[in-house]
Amino acid sequence: MTDADYTATEAMVVAAARELDDGDSVLVGVGVPNLACNLAKRTHAPDLQMVYESGTIDSNPSKLPLSIGDPVLASGALRVVPMFDGFTTYLQAGRIDVGFLGGAQIDRHGNINSTVIGEYDDPVVRLPGSGGACDIASNAHRTIIITPHEERRLPAEVDFVTSPGYVGGREGRAELGLRGGPSAIITDKAVLRFDDDGVAYVETLHPDVSADEVRAATGWEVEISDESARTAPPTPDEVATIRDELDPQGVYTGTD
């Protein structure tokens, strides 16, 4: 725990939740994105439509799902469709406003690596792979990237582009005919946005985090436009919702 009444992970979850607008249709990943979406739905975005890769539309989970295919995502959902329909009639057709993505590496252009550390054919670490991430990064109207803020996770360039961000810059993405693009990287230390060239900069530092701490934990010379700009801290209500309703066992938020 920091001195404040919330953990750094909770600060990340809350900042991510606030990226969602009421009424958004969001493709939810498991873990921290799931917490962020459920928090948003219980606070400022009651009409958030939660869609999962497993094909559940407007899930209304009675408890935090253990995986993106948990039965609570189907029970009480508005609709359940086969995966192919989800990726085509929903994602590819532009019915998803926001995609939440994470990854082992995120670079300054918001490109994400969830495939391999090292060489593809001679991996140092073999990661799980794309899943739907490449498809979400290509077709959602905007993506929100969530990651703990560590230098190894935020290199200047990823070892492997699993999911395209701004590729070699905003123009590069547009030329490829990709929809949307990352709108933010939310970490446990800061909120990053993308400038006109499609390079990530720090918009706000979380309340108790120093600019130097963030520079040291970022793999490129990250611009911090205003060191005094601070992320609004989590409210007691937001923290209580996470602890009492969403993650009472502290599976995702318990350790800092």
């Binding site: 890769e53 295919g69 086969p82 192919f84 990726f87 490449c134 290509s138």
Partner: protein, 304 residues
């Protein structure tokens, strides 16, 4: 036409060494009982295909059944990584395996093309990704209506698909509900289909609701009634995911030695799913029961 049989017989009749096999189900209705039977049968050199090669493929890889895995996300869902799969890819333990990799959309599009006998399926994904550079099955196709190029994937037609559903009649006409994932397309794309269900019902139950039917008898070769055949994954309305088992696997798969001990106890050490369930114990099964919540019926009408 289909044969009503046991898991052991279905696996030994349907699957040969060297086959391309798809065990379907996206986190739901995963055919664990059939996977374990494949290990007991000592199958080798399999090309295992699955969007999400989770525990069941980690176990098959650990047991040395696979020479290749085609996939889009290899992890222990909600828990962590697939350690046996990683040992095979990173260190060649217990044997080297080749991999072929897609995103979920690309792999399900391959099944969709296979099920529909299309020579390729165009997909709006992979632009800007490094995946196509490592997979010759992700190519570009020219839009004949002047929209430029996009990516495409070829059909996937497994030798065998093993799929589960909640209920079927003894001919293999099956009802499935909850998350259906890629189950229908995997079965429709495959040469041979093994269907394993939680319970057999009368044909009239299936015919009372033809819109819920996912597979029919002509597309099924072997029908098996295997209650709890998807444990530790779940069957909507029948049992929940056994999360402890997913956490236990994370521990058991930490080394090749501990994996072998696990396989000895839970796969080689039992001769059927019934023995596996006996070892699991009634308490554990009871804790996985949901309460009942029926769908509201629809009136099909009787027309004369």
């Amino acid at each position: 036409m289909s044969v009503l049989t046991t898991t052991a017989d279905a696996v030994s009749s349907a699957i040969d060494d060297g086959d391309t096999v798809y065990l379907a189900g996206f986190t739901h209705l995963i055919p664990f009982a059939s996977g374990h039977e494949m290990i007991r049968a000592g199958l080798r050199d399999l090309h295992l295909v699955r969007a999400t090669p989770d525990l069941v493929y980690d176990q098959l890889v650990a047991a040395g059944c696979a020479s290749k895995v085609t996939f889009s996300w290899a992890g222990n869902p909600g828990v962590g990584s697939l350690q046996a799969f990683r040992r095979a890819v990173e260190d060649g333990v217990p044997n080297e395996i080749e991999i072929e990799e897609y995103s979920h959309y690309g792999l399900t599009a391959r099944l969709a093309a296979g099920a529909r006998a299309l020579p390729f399926m165009p997909v709006r994904t992979y632009a800007g990704s490094d995946l196509p550079a490592h997979n010759d099955n992700i190519r570009r196709v020219e839009d004949p209506f002047g929209g430029g190029e996009l990516h495409a994937v070829p059909p996937l037609t497994p030798d065998v698909a093993v799929v589960r559903a909640q209920r079927a009649d003894e001919n293999g006409n099956a009802h499935l509900w909850g998350i259906s994932g890629e189950i229908a397309d995997a079965a429709m794309a495959a040469e041979t289909v093994v269907l394993s269900v939680e319970e057999l019902v009368d044909e009239s139950v299936i015919r009372s609701d033809p819109n819920r039917t996912t597979l029919t008898n002509r597309d099924v070769d072997y029908v098996v009634e295997e209650p709890y055949g998807s444990h530790p994954s779940y069957a909507q309305g029948y049992y929940d995911r056994d999360n402890d088992a997913y956490l236990e696997w994370a521990e058991a798969s930490a080394s090749h030695e501990s994996v072998e001990a696990w396989l000895d106890e839970w796969v080689y050490g039992v001769d059927s799913r019934r023995e596996y369930l006996e070892r699991l114990g009634a308490d554990r099964l009871l804790d996985l029961q949901p309460s009942t919540a029926y769908t509201t019926p629809a009136n099909m009408g009787r027309y004369r």
